[in-house]
């Protein structure tokens, strides 16, 4: 098994684990961590692609590496925004889970200024 294949399989496993967490965990913080896990998997895949697609004479294709750097910055910004929202939600509601059955919304309805 070549390095690139190994990294690709690891990336796929990370994506799978992350997707499971993103879909199955009700807590927002866990979902966020799961999203970062998916992100890591995708970036690892980009790395494997860079290695496999290397033109002759290069150690690796530089384009996917540039994409990974941009992707990291975007994922970092997304995480920061989401954490800020989680913190504000915890302050405002005292809970951070995202149950679709909305006990939070039915509680919040009477508080709404009417």
């Amino acid at each position: 098994m070549s390095d690139a294949t190994l990294f690709g399989l690891c990336g796929a496993a990370l994506v799978g684990l992350g997707l499971y967490g993103l879909i199955c965990h009700p807590g927002a913080l866990r979902k966020l961590l799961a999203f970062n896990l998916v992100g890591s998997g995708v970036f690892l895949l980009f790395g494997a692609v860079a290695r496999r697609g290397a033109a002759s004479g290069f150690g690796g294709d530089p384009v996917p590496q540039a994409l990974v750097i941009t992707g990291l910055v975007v994922a970092f910004a997304a995480t920061a925004l989401a954490v800020a929202l989680v913190v504000r939600l915890a302050q405002a509601a005292g809970r951070t889970d995202l149950d679709p059955e909305p006990p939070a919304r039915s509680e919040a309805t009477p508080e709404r200024p009417s």
Partner: protein, 516 residues
């Protein structure tokens, strides 16, 4: 008339810029964003309102040039052509979308002027600063999505759009809007990460990210390789989560109904359309081979379920803004009917179907923005938006209710409206290709739309003897603005066919298979 000559001269100057014109819709919002952050205080609002009309002029210019030349406009950034460089390109689709975006943006900006000001006595308020800078972010993101020609640029544009749109939902900082924003963000992040995963697979297989080059390499490859099919599936699902098509729609109603009216209008009219346009780009431009009957029918069925399910849920809503939000869910479904309808075995109906889809998109954008803004006027004046207690509002706020009503009628698709023309075109394609089932779905959707609007009219137009006490009266110009937006949607169907042809510019080359 001096002013007309001056306008004509300005217009000639604008269109004379040629392909450099494509930089304007991207540069204006980003420059405005920097200026707004640098100056702060009372300035962001003025900067936005100064830039939006310029954006409209640029959008009209681009549409005129594209229509005139009957060919897409291209601009290679820094003179570097792909695969090394990044290209901006405006085909007919982009031109129409830029135009719709700048019209709705300008209307919403004018509408929000009094609501998001800085009160005398304070130098800057968080809500005002956040709203106007985020509006610029949304505007820039949208324009870049419409002009981008490179899968990774499109990803960055989508993220700029998402990060600007999510905080708009929770501007008031209440717990339920914060939760809605967080849920929206998590859905959107899932969507974008799946999109990037698809991009990685495509780059790994074909070594380029430019849509034009990828199309050529895909066409040269003959049958679609498994990696390309997996990539298309991942990207489509990711973008569906951002567009809120049926099974991935959970985030939309609380987010769109909880946001301030001006923000809801932008989110519902424009933001969800950006990811839809990317799906169109992937299926029509990037991989036309993907557009087989069986694959397209999956999207069509999801759209049909969205039409019926969204319409039925809208019928049961107790609050006006939630009703409008569920109506968005249903109206988005119509857009996905274009995929099965474009796979007509009889002949090449793609042009008509796409024109119908874009008309529906434009008509919905204007009508839905008008409905959210009118609902906002009614809610702020009454202090609530409970449909059951709207009695007498037709007497107290006749113009707002009229605007809501006209927007609603335009959405149902009465005779001169854009939605009417769109449904006629789509229905024609359905008949011509023997897929009458989609036409039936559109009729059911129209009935449901009429039903939930009649419910609102019934309450709003009753109780004329006892008009409710108003907390505040909306500015007359706001009401007229909303009415104008609603009339735009209603009058779209009167556009001469020569203008409608702009949608298909750049499309013939795609059908012919590859660039010369």
């Amino acid at each position: 008339m001096v002013s007309v000559q001056w306008l004509g001269g300005l217009f000639a100057g604008v269109t004379g810029l040629g392909s450099t014109l494509l930089l304007v819709p991207v540069m204006l919002p980003l420059a405005g964003l920097l200026l707004a952050i640098a100056f702060g205080g009372r300035h962001p609002r003025r900067i936005v309102l100064a830039l939006l009309p310029l954006g409209l002029v640029a959008a009209v210019g681009i549409a005129a040039v594209v229509l005139e030349a009957d060919a897409p406009l291209r601009y290679d950034l820094g003179g570097w052509a792909p695969p090394l460089g990044v290209t901006l390109q405006a085909d007919g689709l982009s031109a129409v979308l830029l135009l719709v975006t700048s019209v709705v943006m300008l209307a919403v900006g004018l509408y929000a002027w009094p609501g998001f000001g800085v009160p005398p006595g304070s130098s800057e308020t968080r809500t005002s600063f956040a709203f106007w800078t985020l509006l610029l972010g949304v505007w820039g993101g949208l324009n870049l999505v419409f002009l981008g020609q490179d899968l990774f640029t499109l990803y960055v544009a989508l993220e700029l759009l998402t990060f600007s749109a999510v905080p708009l939902v929770c501007l008031d900082g209440r717990a339920d809007t914060l939760q809605a924003a967080l849920r929206y963000l998590l859905f959107a992040l899932l969507g974008s990460i799946l999109y990037v995963l698809g991009t990685a697979l495509l780059y790994g297989q074909f070594g380029t990210l430019d849509i034009g080059l990828l199309r050529d390499r895909l066409a040269a490859a003959g049958a679609l390789p498994p990696a390309a099919i997996a990539a298309a599936a991942l990207m489509t699902v990711g973008l569906l989560a951002k567009t809120a098509l049926f099974p991935l729609h959970l985030w939309l109603p609380p987010a769109h109904a909880g946001a301030p009216p001006a923000a809801s209008a932008i989110l519902s009219a424009l933001v969800v359309k950006a990811s839809f346009v990317l799906i169109v780009r992937i299926w029509f431009d990037l991989m036309p081979a993907l557009l087989t009957r069986s694959a397209a029918e999956v999207l069509g069925v999801l759209g049909a379920v969205a039409i019926v399910y969204g319409g039925a849920l809208a019928l049961g809503q107790a609050r006006l803004k939630l009703l409008v939000a569920y109506s968005t869910l249903a109206q988005l479904g119509y857009l996905f009917l274009i995929f099965p309808l474009a796979t007509s075995p009889a002949g090449n109906a793609t042009g008509e179907v796409l024109t119908g889809g874009m008309l529906q998109l434009a008509a919905h954008a204007c009508a839905k923005a008008a409905m959210f803004l009118a609902a906002g006027l009614i809610a702020t004046s009454l202090g609530h938006d409970r449909i059951g207690e709207l009695a007498g509002v037709g007497r107290a706020l006749p113009l707002s209710v009229l605007a809501f009503g006209i927007a609603g009628l335009a959405l149902v698709g009465i005779e001169p409206s854009g939605a009417y023309l769109a449904k006629t075109l789509l229905d024609g394609a359905a008949q011509a290709s023997g897929q009458w089932g989609w036409g039936l779905v559109m009729q059911i959707g129209g009935l449901l739309t009429a039903a939930y609007l009649i419910r609102v009219f019934f309450h709003a137009l009753s109780g004329f003897a006892r008009p409710p006490a108003l907390r505040a009266r909306p500015a007359r110009y706001q009401e007229l603005l909303v009415l104008g937006l609603a009339l735009c949607s209603l009058a779209l169907g009167l556009l001469p066919p020569a203008y409608l042809a702009v949608v298909t510019v750049g499309r013939v080359a795609a059908a012919g298979g590859g660039l010369p």
